[in-house]
């Protein structure tokens, strides 16, 4: 059996990667929002996620105990070494694409951190409780927009429906459960990921119904993020993100 700290380390790294990669996408909205207040709202969520990424990277560092820092993980790995869900790395697209991604992700995170706040691991429990407060706001933000766009104009309705349809195939991966998940969940440290799926589906259905939108037919769900097999989008994101750290490896910023 794998060492429990090693499992927790993997777990922490995954959570950090989800937050870090999604925060990067949201930060790309800066100065590009549909109006100033919304520009600031998206940046706000990005900042919450950066803070979360840092906290989980720090915990991973502590568990690994080899003196690596949060920045080493954020900036010095290759694309096959990132373990975020594919959904997090999907490009911003138009505003509807970003909002659909936010809804799917935030609702998942809500149930995930609800459960993780009861973790027997004190650090996970404390970080989950803090994160949950932020995620509650993120859900309201995303769900309000999905409803407004769905029940707004014909154009916005089409755009958000297309966004939902386009991203749907990346939602199944959120509930992927591998050995790490199973072992940590059995020990009361991690979350029973599969059990979240029904909660997630019910929640999403309610929002989509209010928004007069259709739930896509699930045909095929793409996975791979947890094994470090990503979409083509991640490599380009990392190329940009890591540029200074890679070009000046001896420099401190």
């Amino acid at each position: 059996m794998a060492d429990i700290n090693e499992l927790k380390y993997t777990y922490s790294l995954r959570l950090a990667d989800n937050a870090w990669i999604l925060s990067h996408r949201l930060s790309e909205w800066c100065s590009n929002g549909p109006f100033l207040e919304e520009d600031l709202a998206l940046t706000n969520i990005a900042l919450d996620l950066i803070g979360r990424a840092q906290a989980f990277y720090n915990y991973a560092a502590e568990l690994e105990g080899k003196g690596r820092t949060a920045d080493d993980w954020a900036y010095r790995r290759n694309e096959r070494q990132y373990y975020n869900n594919l959904l997090a790395e999907m490009p911003n697209g138009n505003f509807a694409d970003t909002i659909a991604r936010q809804l799917f992700m935030s609702v998942y995170e809500y149930y995930f951190f609800m459960s993780l706040q009861n973790s027997k691991d004190e650090t996970f429990a404390a970080l989950a409780a803090k994160t949950l407060k932020e995620v509650k706001y993120h859900i309201v933000h995303a769900a309000d927009w999905v409803v407004r766009l769905g029940d707004g104009t014909a154009e916005s309705h089409n755009k958000i429906q297309q966004a939902i349809n386009g991203l749907w195939m990346y939602t199944g991966e959120l509930f992927d459960t591998d050995e790490t998940d199973i072992m940590l969940s059995e020990q009361g440290i991690g979350v029973d990921n599969q059990s979240l799926q029904t909660l997630w589906e019910t929640h999403i259905s309610e929002v989509l119904e209010e928004a007069t939108l259709k739930i896509p037919e699930a045909e095929y769900m793409q996975t791979g993020g947890r094994q470090g097999i990503h979409t083509e989008h991640l490599g380009r994101m990392l190329g940009e993100m890591q540029y200074l750290q890679r070009a000046y490896p001896d420099a401190k910023w």
């Binding site: 870090w20 790309e28 800066c30 919304e38 900042l47 949060a70 940009e240 993100m241 910023w253």
Partner: protein, 318 residues
């Protein structure tokens, strides 16, 4: 202002207004004010708001390349503050009877200006340090002076803004200081940024007092309380020492301490460049406005959807 107000009443109002301003009273949105005062303020406050908003672009240019988690967090939070300043200032301008929509249109059609400094490009990470330290540093000198400006909503916005700007300035300086303690390449990058941003920062205070077209009314009405040259000198005096401490050279061979005045003297500012960029021929003038328009146009369907939804809800609830 109605056209048939008798001139005598008009004169009485004006002298009462000027008396209040002289006493140091704050003028509030509901108070009578001369049209020229209102126009001056709309021009100045909206220009200030647009500067905050357009300024998000050159800094935003480095968000996705910020070199550490902390650096990214600080930069993103800073840009968010700038956007927030834009919001207070738009609200302050709205109290004078202009809508945000009209202000945005004036920005996009070139009728309203924004700070010329943002027509310069951010080429390296050190430029983010230089903007925080020099550009925000120059802005603070100007804004501190505006905290006591005669128009209440503007003055109150300035008080809030100044608190945040001084953080930004320290953060920018910290970027420069860290780079100057770093590798040879980092030091070179920092000095290069200094060389490119120093002179445009001095230009931020506007033309010499003798050539400043909007000054006289602004002084009489206490919108403006210190002259361009006074503020520029103040900025130079405090910045020279900060540069020395971290080992940066000010790119002005004529810069020297003047015992008699107790201030630094500086070399001649390139006013041809200043007017050329103001007239639209800077590296980024077209890019900045095109970016603003693109984001605004791309967001039109979102704003329309929000409006349509609001109308539908109002109908439902009635």
């Amino acid at each position: 202002m109605s056209n048939n107000t008798a001139p005598a009443i008009e004169d009485a109002r004006l002298s009462k207004f000027e008396e209040r301003v002289q006493k140091g009273d704050a003028i509030e949105p509901r108070d009578w004010m001369p049209e020229a005062y209102r126009k001056h303020l709309i021009r100045q406050i909206s220009q200030h708001a647009h500067s905050e908003v357009i300024g998000m672009q050159p800094e935003g240019n480095w968000i996705t390349r910020a070199p550490s988690i902390r650096a990214k967090q600080i930069l993103l939070a800073k840009i968010q503050d700038e956007g927030g300043h834009g919001l207070y200032l738009y609200s302050a301008a709205e109290t004078l009877g202009i809508s945000r929509e009209d202000m945005i249109e004036q920005l996009q059609t070139g009728k309203a200006k924004y700070s010329n400094i943002f027509n310069y490009p951010t080429l390296t990470w050190a430029d983010i340090g230089a903007i925080g330290w020099l550009v925000d540093g120059a802005a603070i000198v100007n804004q501190v002076s505006l905290q006591r400006t005669s128009y209440g909503p503007y003055s109150r916005a300035m008080v809030r803004i100044c608190k945040e700007e001084s953080f930004h300035q320290r953060q920018g300086y910290e970027i420069m200081a860290t780079m100057m303690k770093g590798t040879a390449e980092q030091r070179e990058m920092a000095q290069d940024a200094m060389n490119r941003w120093w002179w445009p920062s001095l230009m931020m205070f506007g033309p010499h007092d003798s050539d400043s077209p909007h000054s006289s009314d602004a002084f009489r009405w206490k919108i403006k309380r210190h002259s361009n040259d006074e503020l520029r000198t103040k900025f130079i005096d405090k910045t020279v020492q900060q540069a020395e401490v971290i080992g940066l050279t000010i790119p002005d061979p004529e810069l020297k301490w003047n015992e008699a005045t107790g201030h630094y003297d500086h070399g001649e500012i390139n006013w041809d460049e200043f007017y050329r960029v103001i007239k639209g021929n800077g590296q980024c003038n077209k890019q900045r406005i095109a970016h603003h328009k693109r984001a605004h146009d791309d967001g039109a369907w979102v704003r329309e959807a929000a409006e349509a939804y609001k109308v539908k809800q109002a109908v439902k609830n009635n």
